[in-house]
């Protein structure tokens, strides 16, 4: 990954984390990585454990990031989340996937689109 993109990514994740916290969620993990995949943020929202995918972009061209989750990526997210859930004995607890899309505009504030309970499936 280029430094620029990495920076953008990091910036996006930081913004997303702050956003979620502002909504009353507690961040449990950042960049949770296993061999099969990575989850950007894992948070707690009430009883729910939430797996968050963060999409950061600088251009409007490609639409909201939620659409750009490929089936492969989705499968990777799922596997990683499942592994986390197993590890922390959460398999019978409420869980969900959210997506935070951050559009970093040249001038002005970043535009954040928050998709609660996104359709991520195996």
């Amino acid at each position: 990954m280029t430094r620029e993109r990495k920076n953008t990514g990091d910036l996006g994740e930081a913004l997303a984390a702050r956003y979620l916290e502002s909504r009353g969620m507690r961040i449990l993990e950042r960049k949770y990585t296993i061999r099969g995949g990575e989850i950007d943020l894992i948070a707690k929202d009430g009883a729910y454990t939430v797996f968050v995918e963060v999409k950061t972009r600088r251009s409007a061209a490609y639409g909201t990031g939620a659409e750009s989750i490929t089936p492969r990526k989705m499968a990777a997210l799922w596997r990683t989340a499942e592994q986390y859930a197993q590890k922390h004995q959460l398999l019978d607890a409420p869980m969900r996937f959210d997506v935070v899309d951050i559009f970093l505009q040249r001038n002005g504030n970043p535009e954040i689109t928050y998709i609660k309970n996104a359709d991520i499936h195996a």
């Binding site: 499942e82 398999l91 019978d92 409420p94 869980m95 969900r96 996937f97």
Partner: protein, 511 residues
Amino acid sequence: MLAKVGSCGLMGLGGFHVDVEVDVSSGMPCMEIVGLADTAVKESRERVRSALKNAGFAYPASRIIINLAPADLRKEGPIYDLPIAVGILAASGQVPFSGRRDTVFLGELSLDGEIRGVHGVLPMLIDARSRGMRRAVVPEENAGEAAYIEGLQILPVRNLSELASYMRGEKEMVYCQPGKFAARRESSGDIDFKYIKGQDAAKRAMEIAVAGSHNIFLIGPPGSGKTMLARAVPTIMPLLTFAEALEVTKVHSVSGELRGGIVTERPFRSPHHTASTASLIGGGAKARPGEVSLAHQGVLFLDELPEFRREALEALRQPLEDGFVTVSRVNARVEYPARFMLVASMNPCPCGYYGDPSGKCRCTPGQIRRYLSQRISGPLLNRVDLHVEVARPLYEDLISAREGEPSSAVRNRVEQAREIQRERYQKAGILVNSQLRGGMFDEFCKLDAACELLLSSAFQSLNLSARAYRRILMVARTIADLAGSGEIREEHVAEAVQYRSLDRKYWGGEV
């Protein structure tokens, strides 16, 4: 939480009960559908999810498992969208659900929450009723056909929101009025007999054909009006009874051909000669009913019969003989009814003009003989009782002011003849003369000495083939019925003899 929603499945023209069990629990969020569901059902996932969200309901972030029971019967089609959505709403506590075991839900969901019509509603609900169901929640589109089932309350719904209002008690449930069946007399797009100029012989033959439900061949050059005559047939057929209408509607419902409610007029099907065997007889991956079943209780018109594929014509034998077709499926065999009147048209020879006064025909006798004998097999010929040659109308026929009888007059006679047949065959288990078989001939088609003599003379001097004998008897019986005569008399036999053109040896024969 678990919710159990009643629904139905379809197998051929029969239905079976399906329980849509929805379990919403914590755990990795997903929605799985199990229970031998086909691809369309699996796609319910996407539709239900979008529909719930877009209709303003919450899509639970939970583990949702949906089981379509019984798990050993194949589930097909998008009809489970609605019961699945109801189950999810109920199990996630968004809508109160009484769990009444006498109600079934059917319907496809649009992505915006609208409820769309599905196929096969009538047969499925007839079966549901017979198993004790009392209520059915169906798409508004399908309410028309469902309303004819006695003892089943039909609640038509347009979208999820409306359904939710009903279930929450916010809106009072308005059930459908029971349907009142009235067979349609006038058909759009049909030709009334009175508009067909000349062609008296052909019209008479049609009357006989319909009266006894005999299959008929129309033979003639291009432009002789064969198609017009065929299209006029439905106008003289007896009106559909309610029982017949239900049968027809079932088939049309399963194949998705219904427009609105119950069918009120006899079907008229005319597939093109390039039609595949499967589309004609039925089958294909989903074991859909074919044209022969869609023509059940009506007319199947095969224009330019020799142009149809040999294989397809061969496959007609079963329905013509038995009145139904058997279609194979992956794990079952499905039967569809196929009792229809066959009207087939053809040219008399390869160029089409044999016998035309213009003298245009240049086909050799060998070509003529081969043309028809090669295309039309013996067994098919054996199932067609009337052959009538249709000549191109002469100028003087067309300009004559004489208007013919209207179809309604002919229909009256036909209905009377049918009534006579119904009475006569009460104990014999058949309905019309064309169904006569074997020993029944001796019982119902007795000929006196004069008739026997005439028939045997006719056979000798007119060179008729042996297969014509029974056909002539059947047709004579119908002619006698139309004349209101209990016995078959000489004139009935004499007329019947004229309808065996293809059996005559002159066809491509010697001077």
